[in-house]
Symmetry: C3
Amino acid sequence: MINQKLRNTLLGLSLLGLILLFGASAAMAADDKLDVVYHVSEEDKVGFVLNNIQNHIEGIGGPEKINIVLVSHGPAVKRFHDIEAVNKVRENVAKLQEQGVTFEACANTLTALGFERDELLSGFVIAEKGGVTRIAELQSEGYVYLRP
Amino acid sequence: MINQKLRNTLLGLSLLGLILLFGASAAMAADDKLDVVYHVSEEDKVGFVLNNIQNHIEGIGGPEKINIVLVSHGPAVKRFHDIEAVNKVRENVAKLQEQGVTFEACANTLTALGFERDELLSGFVIAEKGGVTRIAELQSEGYVYLRP
Amino acid sequence: MINQKLRNTLLGLSLLGLILLFGASAAMAADDKLDVVYHVSEEDKVGFVLNNIQNHIEGIGGPEKINIVLVSHGPAVKRFHDIEAVNKVRENVAKLQEQGVTFEACANTLTALGFERDELLSGFVIAEKGGVTRIAELQSEGYVYLRP
């Protein structure tokens, strides 16, 4: 009888251990999506990166399978200026936003370029602590890093 | 006596726990090699990246210590075309393949460039879901990312 | 009484398990700093990367919050030559070193450029196994990767 009770206790503790063990990873994969942070700094890479992101969404099987944040800083941000942006960029950004992609621009870059926050294309989020800080932050939260 | 039996049971459970704990990491390092995915998209980076990979193999102590996949997409893929490739690229790709390096090219890029699958240098694998999808996939399997 | 003793043993083992479980992650975060490896290979990215690192330190809340290593290889290393370096690079490197940033240069690149080890700016560490080997090594130790 004592053995039986103790076995139950041991089983209970083992289960608790397993729950603690796998709790963290379960939480990370809570939404069953792969988290990816894309990074762009060069002006002439902007069109390419937008194509890459569209290909990634299609390659992985649709927007419900992936969570993408594009963090832009440096010269690349110019291409997202609401007046400067060419139609192709404007359209692709909108199309990707409809598929759940988040666009962020570096606050330091905006200051350096003399851009106001409302001068970027609609829906852009400002990375207040800076683009690189944000990219490192997302990676430490488990985001995979892609720098086309 | 009861105490002795229970101690044995507890020891057994502890060992089981430790095995469960370290099972995953043991599996990841099953072949004792560091897994690295290299990424190249610019044409003029191809020669540099091939040199980097050779240096990496030598720096880490030989091909038995490292497992490298080079995923190419965008303009870089042109340099791996079997007719266009210069001798230096052709020779270095072959030399790295002999050391176990895997070369993959983005299926979307092949379509965009109008290349057939058999027009690349011998041994190239096609990343069917696209280059960026493949790079993210490898990273989520534990590959370290290098983008020279 | 037996039950009580066994409960104490079980509690002890559970605590030991928890300590083992979280020991590794505790060790990794021993200094409470985020570890980041920056990577630069292009000459014309050097000034930009130095700015990025300064912004990162400020964005995260100061040098006590972050541990940064910049690994340079390829043409970028020329900009760190003690005679060739422009004042802006020289000053920014010194300023970042005062904030704890480590600068490393690829040994293979030094050989390729015909640079002696003591020809780089003061405080540079030589990555003896090569720049890419070092970057992968740091990543496998838990460093986040940034390639501006």
